[in-house]
Amino acid sequence: VSSRVRIWLIALNVVAIVTGIALGRWIFYAVTT
């Protein structure tokens, strides 16, 4: 893929990972406390 699309996909993956970790922590503490 082109460099611009590649950068977009990498950034999207990074944002998704960070969002997922934050979401997981929020879900766990919301359910267990």
Partner: protein, 287 residues
């Protein structure tokens, strides 16, 4: 003889990049991928990967919650329970596993069809290394003055081996590119050349560069329109001069059309690009 490349009036500037690792090339539409296609894949990637990470995080934290109370617990049922599970943890553990698998499927489908980094393979190492870390941490210090719990240490070693094994595949940079960005090309495809249909008519290889990363990009300009003034195109000239490697003469036109159709179905080619390439192929293959 060097001919003049004349852009087609309706398909001028359609650029296809053929990224490859090693010596194989596979055509992938780059920035000209239709915006709706990329948007759909992006949504799938974001939703899938974020839910996968959320589930892995929930599973990691749920395991720690259970290990803090001794490593086992129970909840519900007709029996007297010695150690009650923390509130919501059983449901979180079961739910995170199944929801995570579904999200991993969504992410895999989206990332594979978009040509993006394919991180799904890392889910296995992340799962076992993170849970192995829990075994190691609580095995060394269970928190109740028991000393080292060797059974948990053994579990930690096993989990580290299971999780770390696939990471050995990522030691070589070429392997990283192959695993994260996809295979180099169809099986048996000759090295470092454009797709066969690209040379059917008026399609020209204009550049080929090798980046420091070792990934080769063969840039192809789809130029299906014949030169109006009768001059030959670059592709024709190059083929005549042997500068480019043309397709095997006995390759069936149907196979080329099928490959083209596959790229179109996968979204790598827009409707306009598919039509242009198909016309170019048919006009070249009919002769």
């Amino acid at each position: 003889m060097v001919g003049r490349r004349r852009p087609h009036p309706t398909h001028a500037g359609a650029v296809i990049e053929a990224p490859s690792v090693g010596c194989y090339a596979r055509p992938v539409i780059s920035e000209e991928v239709s915006a709706p296609h990329l948007a759909r894949r992006s949504v799938g990637i974001f939703v899938g990967l974020s839910v996968v990470c959320a589930c892995l995080t929930v599973l990691f934290l749920s395991m720690r919650a259970v290990m803090k109370i001794g490593g086992y617990c129970a909840s519900g049922g007709p029996y007297e329970i010695a150690v009650e599970c923390p509130n919501g943890v059983p449901g979180l553990m079961i739910g995170s596993i199944w929801i995570g698998l579904g999200a991993l499927l969504l992410y895999s489908m989206s990332s594979y069809s978009s040509g993006g980094p394919r991180l799904a393979i890392l889910a296995w190492p992340v799962l076992f290394l993170s849970l192995g870390w829990n075994f190691l941490e609580f095995g060394l210090d269970p928190g109740n003055d028991q000393g080292i719990v060797w059974s948990w240490i053994i579990c930690a070693i096993l989990f580290f081996l299971m999780g770390g094994g696939p990471l050995l595949l990522l030691v070589r940079p070429e392997s990283v590119a192959r695993i994260l960005w996809g295979p180099p090309g169809p099986d048996g495809e000759p090295p470092a050349r454009a797709p066969s249909w690209a040379f059917a008519s008026g399609t020209t290889v204009v550049d080929q560069t090798t980046e420091a990363s070792g990934i080769t990009h063969a840039t192809i300009v789809v130029d299906p329109g014949p030169a109006d003034d009768g001059e030959s195109t670059d592709a024709t000239d190059a083929a005549n001069e042997g500068d480019v490697q043309t397709d095997e003469p006995d390759e069936d036109l149907v196979d080329r059309l099928e490959r083209l159709s596959t790229l179109h179905r996968r979204g790598s080619l827009s409707d306009a690009e598919f039509t242009a390439a198909k016309q170019a192929l048919l006009s070249g293959g009919a002769t």
